[in-house]
């Protein structure tokens, strides 16, 4: 499945997201009467490959790209005003456009990003494919299946949800999952729960962490055919749990997400597992959940649990 098809599939699920919610709003724009050389400098400093061009009323009238600048160099026009060489056929997105509209733009045009405008045609942001993914992850408990091109996301030290650094050696709790012993499944989650209970956190969040981690851990034991680890981090207002494995990955995410669907073999079911509720339970108990999985590379589950405000220490 191509990246665009995948986006189209998700667009239907996340119809109510507006372009304005997912765009990057710190967009660099330039006036049409400035010199091309000026645009070149700005793009170099900001490390960008194109910029929206605006008139004196700040309305969008064009776009200038690196190609346009190369062209200007070739014909010795680098000191001409921008409006002479910019493209005026600009495809824009309105800030109230739905995610589906945004995805359509990526489907129908070959551009990597689109300027976002308001009712007065003023530029208020810019959207790239990355923004779409980040927007969705920010807003929802999304499960995101990985594709080959983005291998950098799996097993990195950065949170897939918040982008903050999560160093393995800085985890406050670590448990190495023994995938060979089905009877030991859940031991890590039980230990993590005990660890948190000992620190006097609110019993509700401790229970939620316990259950969601239990499901993630048993998934590693039952399905991954690989080795796994549980890492726990406490940041000011939240707990972050990461369960990673180097196993076979999730074959069909749509099915895996469906309640009651399970690929567990009979001997596993006899032991009370394989109800097909694993991912559903993780979603139910975590505040945010991202599952990144790639065939033959592994699966990474990241969950965030927000601490209830009343447990903050009174100063």
């Amino acid at each position: 499945m191509s990246e665009n098809n995948k986006l189209a599939r998700y667009a239907a699920i996340f119809e109510d997201i507006k372009a304005g919610e997912i765009m990057s709003s710190n967009v660099v724009e330039i006036s049409a009467d400035k010199k091309i050389a000026h645009a070149k400098e700005l793009m170099k400093i900001k490390k960008i490959s194109g910029m929206p061009v605006v008139d004196e009323k700040k309305q969008l009238i064009g776009i200038i790209s690196i190609e346009d600048i190369i062209h200007a160099f070739e014909f010795n026009k680098i000191n001409d005003p921008i409006h002479r060489i910019m493209s005026t056929q600009v495809v824009t997105i309105h800030k109230d456009d739905s995610l589906a509209d945004v995805v359509d733009k990526f489907e129908n045009y070959k551009y990597g990003r689109f300027p976002v405008v308001d009712d007065d045609k003023r530029v208020c942001g810019i959207i790239s494919k990355e923004d779409i993914l980040h927007g969705i992850l920010e807003k929802f408990n999304l499960i995101y299946i990985h594709d080959q091109k983005r291998t950098s996301t799996l097993n990195t030290e950065y949170s897939a949800i918040t982008g903050e650094k999560l160093k393995v050696e800085e985890a406050e709790f670590h448990y190495q999952i023994d995938s060979s012993d089905i009877d030991a499944a859940g031991t890590g989650a039980a230990m993590l729960k005990q660890f948190l209970t000992g620190k006097n956190f609110h019993s509700d969040i401790v229970r939620r962490v316990g259950v969601a981690t239990y499901e993630a851990e048993t998934n590693v034991v039952i399905h991954s055919r690989g080795q796994g680890d549980i890492y726990f981090y406490q940041h000011e207002d939240r707990f972050i749990v990461r369960v990673v494995d180097n196993g076979i990955g999730i074959e069909d995410l749509d099915k895996a997400m469906k309640e009651g669907y399970s690929t567990a073999p009979d001997y596993i079911r006899e032991r009370g597992f394989g109800a097909g509720m694993g991912i559903a339970n993780m979603k139910r108990f975590a505040d945010k959940l991202v599952i990144i999985s790639e065939k033959k590379v592994g699966t990474q589950v990241e969950m965030i649990f927000y601490l209830p405000t009343q447990t903050w220490p009174l100063i």
């Binding site: 009877d183 859940g186 019993s203 229970r207 239990y214 009370g272 509720m277 694993g278």
Partner: protein
């Protein structure tokens, strides 16, 4: 208010572990043999009827803050399961009554499941 000891009497159950909890209040009751269901559906203060006796069930129950488990149909329970429950002072009962009958008897006392009152 229904206490654990009322359930013990009602089902003529053996107390295999967690004797100190006999006077605790039972807030709701459920029944399942699937671990994920137990994880999903239980609430703190709940007792769960099950036919599932692997040690895993105790670990599951501890993770979910379950009040206790009632093993039905007088099933054999692995010594490891009982030992694990005792180690954690976890309430573990066993009754000869079958799952359906056990549920019926408890339901008749007025206790409800986690789907009622939501």
């Amino acid at each position: 208010m229904i206490k654990v000891r009322d359930i013990v009497a009602l089902l003529e159950a053996e107390v295999l572990s967690g004797e100190s909890k006999l006077d605790e209040e039972v807030k709701s009751v459920g029944a399942s043999d699937m671990i994920s269901d137990i994880l999903a559906l239980t609430q703190p203060g709940m007792m769960v009827l099950t036919g599932y006796t692997y040690p895993q069930v105790i670990r599951t129950a501890l993770v979910t803050d379950l009040l206790g488990l009632i093993v039905v149909r007088g099933k054999n329970i692995a010594p490891e399961t009982i030992a694990y429950a005792r180690e954690n002072n976890f309430l573990l009962l066993r009754t000869r009554s079958y799952l359906y009958s056990s549920c019926g008897k408890i339901y008749a006392t007025g206790l409800r499941g986690s789907d009622v009152g939501k």
